[in-house]
Amino acid sequence: MATDTALEHNADVQDGNLWEGGKAPFKASYGKLMMWYFLLSDAFTFAGFLISYGALRFSMPTWPVPDFVFKTAPFGVENAPLIFVTFMTFVLIVSSVTMVRAVQEGHRENKGGAVFWLLMTIIGGATFLSSQAWEWNNLIGKEGMSVTTNPFSNFDEGGKYLSAEELEKAGFQKVETESHGAAATYFLHPHAADVPDNRFFVKADHHGHSLAGKEFSAGNHYLITYNHSTHLYEHGAYLAESGQIKKEEFGPRAFGALFFFITGFHGFHVFSGVLFLTIIAVNVASGLYVKRRNGYEMVEKMGLYWHFVDLVWVFVFLVFYLL
């Protein structure tokens, strides 16, 4: 024991005397430490979400392919996989960079510079939020994805889409009906009861072009078209390699729920970050921090929070858009 304590003593000396009390052992004010540890606990909240995501994804036989789900961009761009989300990521990175600049100007006690770069950061955050709003709107409004419905899925075997004639030849009965004031045509197995689960449609894309005759192989992904006039999900009929006529099925439901939940929670962090940034920008501009003993430390703490938001996005981007 005596030798133990002697060794400890030497270790302490090497560490400098930061731990001797009366000093901040990490050379950081308690405010900054509090921010760090708050971020650590927030990281565990996100970890809880992302690990749940992983567990649920591992429990599913299939999972939507991201570069198929996220392939549209504003201004009518289609078939541009991951381009829009790359743009969003860049916006967030740039806003992080401007935040670093704001912190540096704060260190120099340059009020004008700090306000300018804070404003740039706010613009970056707002751009990111707007982009996310567009993305959600597109997924919900156009593709028909929701917290309970995931129209993106994968074929488990190859086949080709059938046309109306082929379905009728195979004995399916054609039903013309009206849903929410619009005409809808679908096909039923002979002798099948007319319930939504039994309805087969002729596959068409968002523009109404028929995909009949198009071939695909196992593992290919598909989107169940949401018809905005009839408010129906049109499950296309296809002839599988096994010779059976099959209907497209919804993808794992957890995908939509997890996507909206986790990106929403991150978006909420961005949103509150923008609010706090605005408050701090106003405070800096009013000269509040000039009088303070710790000067512009508030800008630095805000910077930590903002970079954390960027940090979380790295992982959200990874698990939802890349893997």
Partner: protein
């Protein structure tokens, strides 16, 4: 400890004020804060106080309020279990429609749904409101600034918010007790589907919603408090107070705060997912499920996912409850046996080891819920390793009091009682940690006995030890020792009388959470034992009334504390004046010259931490 300081160089008794004046340092606190906003009127002194000592008192008294409620609930369901045939009609004025009275016989029966609500609320209230907030909230607030030599917490404002979020959580939970459909009734762990489907049971609707809101507020409170405790201990230690000179309670509160900081957020993520399942129809925790013959539209989720998220908090939570009690008991036993704590560093390392292990063993609560048996193997191994640091601590407590000059005060008795309870409950933990034995034992009264003894009663004993010990610091008066000893012996014997028989019930397979056992002939011969347990429970509660009367009576009429260090303790809180002012020390802040456990050294009975080392004297705190 080879170094025996020469008797001639041993420091003479000093006057504390002179020592602080000579060695302390002046932070000009009172020039900034004299007549400041903190303690200027009734509201800022007693209600929205930012003084850590007042916040500690608020935590303690709120915790006691909840302890009474939670205890009374347990009495009601114990009456049901012990005397299922007796009429509970006399409870109708209190419980209203939850007691149904047979029109012919006049016999009142407890509604089964309310029995489950009582069990659920008893668990939630005692675990979160009493043993988390009431224990670590009280003593972290009271002792951290006083023991590390700080004027107050790092952020007094966030500290105040921490209490008021706790209060808010309590208010919401209290409201839920008066809902028409009753409070949540699906067990304190709130497993889905009972918690995820509002239509699943009467308590699953409004009761569960309020439960979630309440506990979310509670987590905010824990995080605000925890961040404050950590930064205070790191940054605001007085000069000379290096980490190896910290009294053990501070180490315990530190690790407790870290555990809370890392585990409660994961619980929150589980809660948010649960809220989505309840309100938006997502299927995170729900798979194909029928209610009343009707299929519900859920697919693909897993209730076990919630259990994993819950117990990732839940297991550290057990240590959030027990670690502060361990720290308090270490200090109390050392002070009252007039001996240095045995193996200080081993104590610190075992606290750290327990803290670490608590994060990797959570699934041992789920062996029988359908987790993969393969992964269970790892959890068994990790779980059994916890026995090692726990045993180190028990060994050290016993060797601390061994050969000591023990003062049998109420605080010391409760300290010893804690060790006894911790051993009894800890041993059954080794049984339950084995997944093979758990197949037989899970969800029986064996489990109930285990966790009540090891983290319920033991943590209460630690809390009582702390209250008796630091009551003079909190209120300037002593609690009555005679009543304290009645309280101790009643609680010790009573608690064993309640929980010891439960082991036998459990080994015979009597399941927990059952409303009554009439339908099971095999359990019928336990009815006498159940009656015995119930009577013991009523007596133990009566003894707690003695404590509460003693507590409140002593606040105003107790024996006054006249000297500032009545126990001859070494730690800094006893260097403050009898009436501790805001800022804790009227002048300079004392500096620390030695570790906290110099008892029976160099011919002195105790040497306060502020007394400088004598020439050639070796300090353990280095």
């Amino acid at each position: 400890m080879a170094t025996a300081a020469n008797k001639s160089t041993a420091p003479a008794p000093h006057d504390v004020d002179l020592l602080i004046e000579e060695y302390g340092y002046d932070d000009h606190f009172h020039e900034h804060h004299e007549g400041d906003k903190y303690q200027s009127n009734f509201f800022t002194t007693y209600i929205f106080s930012q003084d850590h000592k007042m916040i500690a008192r608020q935590f303690l008294i709120t915790g006691m309020f909840w302890a009474v409620i939670g205890g009374l609930m347990s009495l009601v369901f114990r009456l049901q279990l012990g005397f299922p045939e007796e009429s509970l009609a006399w409870l109708r004025p209190l419980l209203g429609k939850w007691i149904t009275i047979n029109a012919e016989t006049g016999v009142g029966t407890l509604a089964p749904e309310f029995y489950y609500a009582l069990v659920t609320m008893h668990g939630t209230i005692i675990v979160f409101f009493v043993l988390t907030a009431g224990l670590s909230g009280t003593f972290s607030n009271l002792l951290i600034p006083l023991m590390v030599g700080a004027r107050d917490m790092a952020s007094p404002f966030l500290n105040m918010l921490s209490y008021w979020f706790f209060f808010l959580a309590g208010v919401v939970m209290f409201f839920s007790l008066f809902l028409n459909t009753g409070p949540f009734a699906g067990g304190w762990t709130a497993y889905p589907p009972l918690s995820a489907l509002p239509q699943a049971s009467s308590g699953s609707a409004g009761g569960m919603t309020l439960w979630l809101i309440s506990l979310t507020f509670f987590v905010v409170s824990v995080l605000l408090g925890g961040i404050n405790y950590i930064t205070t201990i790191l940054n605001l230690r007085t000069k000379g107070m290096n980490m190896w000179r910290l009294p053990l309670p501070i180490w315990a509160f530190f690790v407790t705060a870290v555990l809370g900081l890392l585990s409660f957020p994961v619980l929150v993520s589980g809660f948010f997912l649960l809220i989505f399942d309840r309100t938006l129809g997502t299927s995170f925790f729900l798979n194909e499920i029928f209610i009343g013959g009707q299929a519900l539209d859920y697919v693909g989720g897993s209730p076990i996912l919630y259990q994993h998220l819950f117990w990732f908090l839940g297991h550290p939570e057990v240590y959030i409850i027990i670690l502060p009690a361990m720290g308090i008991v270490s200090e109390v036993l050392s002070v009252h046996s007039r001996k240095p704590i045995f193996g200080y560093k081993a104590m610190v390392y075992s606290i750290l080891a327990i803290g670490f292990l608590s994060f990797i063993v959570w699934a041992h609560h789920m062996f029988m819920s359908g987790v993969n048996p393969f992964i269970s193997n790892f959890f068994v191994v990790f779980t059994l390793i916890i026995a090692v640091p726990s045993a180190v601590k028990v060994f050290n407590w016993i060797t601390t009091i061994y050969g000591g000059n023990i003062r049998y005060t109420s605080a010391a008795l409760f300290g010893v009682g804690f060790v006894s309870m911790f051993i009894s409950g800890g041993l059954t933990g080794i049984f339950l940690g084995n997944s093979a034995i758990d197949i037989q034992m899970h969800d029986t009264y064996f489990v109930v006995a285990h966790f009540h003894i090891v983290m319920g009663v033991a943590a209460f004993f630690g809390m009582f030890a702390g209250v008796y010990h630091w009551f003079p610091k909190m209120f300037g008066r002593f609690m009555n020792e005679t009543l304290g000893k009645i309280h101790f012996w009643g609680t010790l014997i009573g608690a064993y009388a309640i929980f010891w028989p439960m082991h036998y019930l459990g080994m015979a397979g009597v399941p927990r959470r059952y409303y009554r056992f009439d339908n099971f002939d095999t359990f019928s011969h336990f009815s006498a034992m159940n009656q015995f347990i119930t009577i013991a429970a009523v007596l133990v509660f009566a003894v707690q009334v003695v404590f509460i009367v003693n507590f409140f009576r002593s606040i105003w009429f107790g024996r006054k504390m006249t000297t500032r260090n009545p126990y001859g303790a070494n730690t800094l809180e006893w260097t403050t004046p009898v009436d501790v002012p805001h800022g804790n020390w009227p002048g300079k802040i004392p500096t620390v010259q030695r570790w906290a456990y110099d008892y029976a050294k160099a011919g002195e009975e105790n040497i306060s931490q502020i007394i400088p080392l004598a020439e050639g004297e070796h300090d353990q705190g280095h």
